[in-house]
Symmetry: D3
Subunit: 129 residues, 6 copies
């Protein structure tokens, strides 16, 4: 079950999401382990590994889309962490989220900003420890 796409995806996932990838894999283990595997292979093994777009731009795109959709708060938080992990600044992330007020309305942007606030607080907490 461990193939090249998975191995490549897992490395990419660790680089972007840190522990979050492991947590999703854990959470899905007993209900849909193959979904956890696909969620490594296709997004990270196939897509994020592609040349042609930098990881900072990829995370900007993902934060934008998840903020606009408004249906996937846990994944938005994971990717705000991811954006910070690949070198986006907090300011860049909040700019992306503010911009979503234009395309998906103020509630989507406000809920996205509150997700960013939670993520930033988590990271401040870790730094203190």
């Amino acid at each position: 079950m461990r193939n090249q796409r998975y191995e490549q995806g897992w490395k990419m996932l660790e680089r972007i999401d840190g522990d979050a990838g492991k947590q999703v894999t854990e959470a899905l283990r007993d209900v849909a382990p193959d979904l956890a595997r696909y969620a490594v292979e296709f997004p990270f093994g196939d897509v994020y590994s592609r040349p042609g777009l930098g990881l900072r731009e990829r995370e900007i795109a993902t934060v934008a889309a998840l903020t606009a959709l408004g249906t996937a708060t846990p994944q938005l938080e994971v990717h705000i962490h991811g954006a910070l992990n690949v070198g986006c600044s907090r300011e860049e992330i909040t700019e992306v989220i503010i911009q979503m007020a234009v395309y998906a309305g103020f509630p989507a942007a406000i809920n996205g900003a509150l997700a960013a606030k939670r993520v930033f607080a988590q990271r401040d907490e870790r730094t203190k420890e």
Copy 2:
């Protein structure tokens, strides 16, 4: 009615969207002219004019969000033009769109790619003329 936010927004809109801004303003003139004005003032006068995120990154975010939402094809086409106008490559734009298969599913990504195909063809056509 012409204020500083509008003037600043209009310049930004011309830089990003070229003629498309004028066309939307024209189209809305007799039905909702203030909506056309707001669509310059807030998105372009307030948001896109903000420092803290580059225009290339802003257009990547917008193309991502509109591809994922799947409800605004005309605006997606305008912003694929916009992304090219501010310096994104065709490859970068298609990478953003392909990535949306992960977050919004394959139909959204395929429909986004077909929008990009139409925009690229329009620009090839213009170049020939």
Copy 3:
């Protein structure tokens, strides 16, 4: 198949939508006639017939929701007609649509305004005839 809910719904539908109800019933006749029947019985026989909210307010609510969702342009056009038929002014309808920029973003509001523009033009055309 013609019951009291249907009869009451059909009268309400005629009052609100004029010919549009007949057209939907026609269009669905050979593929899903019961869906056409349900679309009279439940929305118009049950819901719009309820006391407690005026028809103008009901159409304002529907125009708002369909503009915000952005996935049902034909039905939005039918209900812009409906709003006018039950006494909303063109200005009130465009105000509702402009307001949706706040809750669903500018593309949704602009696409809603262009739907209103088409409906208003149809009615101007009819008046000329």
Copy 4:
């Protein structure tokens, strides 16, 4: 207020959802009791009672749609119970949810799988008691 559609719908609802129907009716009693009644009459009295599609297939369709929409987690959980109650296996349900990664993206599928995990755990808990 108790009519044939309601009676037929209630029986169908009990067969599919077990106690969940009663809980929704309870929850809505003081705020919108007619909505609770409609939620029995139309979905269960009219639609699920129709011949032409088996209950297993109906629940597969509902689990698919609610997973894809991503806006109705409580109702998704109710219908995962429902799918099990009418004879779908856990494997069939997780297959439907995994498939939604294709049409609505990985976050929708992952959140659907976590809903299934919660439902399966509830049922394991009941069995133990």
Copy 5:
């Protein structure tokens, strides 16, 4: 930073939402203060302040849209308060929400009704104190 649009918007926001506006401004203060400012200026300073549609109708439109979208429960609750604050009755609000079953499905309407139930209970609680 305090301009005429903001001042006008803030007064409108206080009239409609009472304390909720202050709470959002507080919550966003350290993560995206300009988003809080925009959320006053554009929706309330520009849009709600427009003549041509009454505040009751504006809140009906907003409750309808947020119920139908199903992605912004906190904002829906704020605007159910808002609708009551500008003179809508509880019955009118629940009618709008019930009607959304037609346009966005039963789960959206049921979740909207449960939001209304929570808001009504909060207000009953306040009255008791």
Copy 6:
């Protein structure tokens, strides 16, 4: 570029969608050929090839989801063909679509039924030829 997942996916795609798979591959060839490849490998090579759910049930799930989402009409038409190709009856497909009125509202169901009408007409046309 032709690997086992692609080969298996292509066979599955041909079985389900007939010519539609080739058309999408053609359409995307010059703009995003890898998206066309992924759209074979992951949905059809990985997901539809899984045991544990029949192809009829898989197509029922897909028709339900695409009808409910309302953002992917071309793909909905492809999968109505697909459902018929793997043995669903026209009646079963329209039942799934009617049912979506419950979960995504009447406009989504009506637009889905009109898509089914177009597909059924195409197939009647082919039969005549």
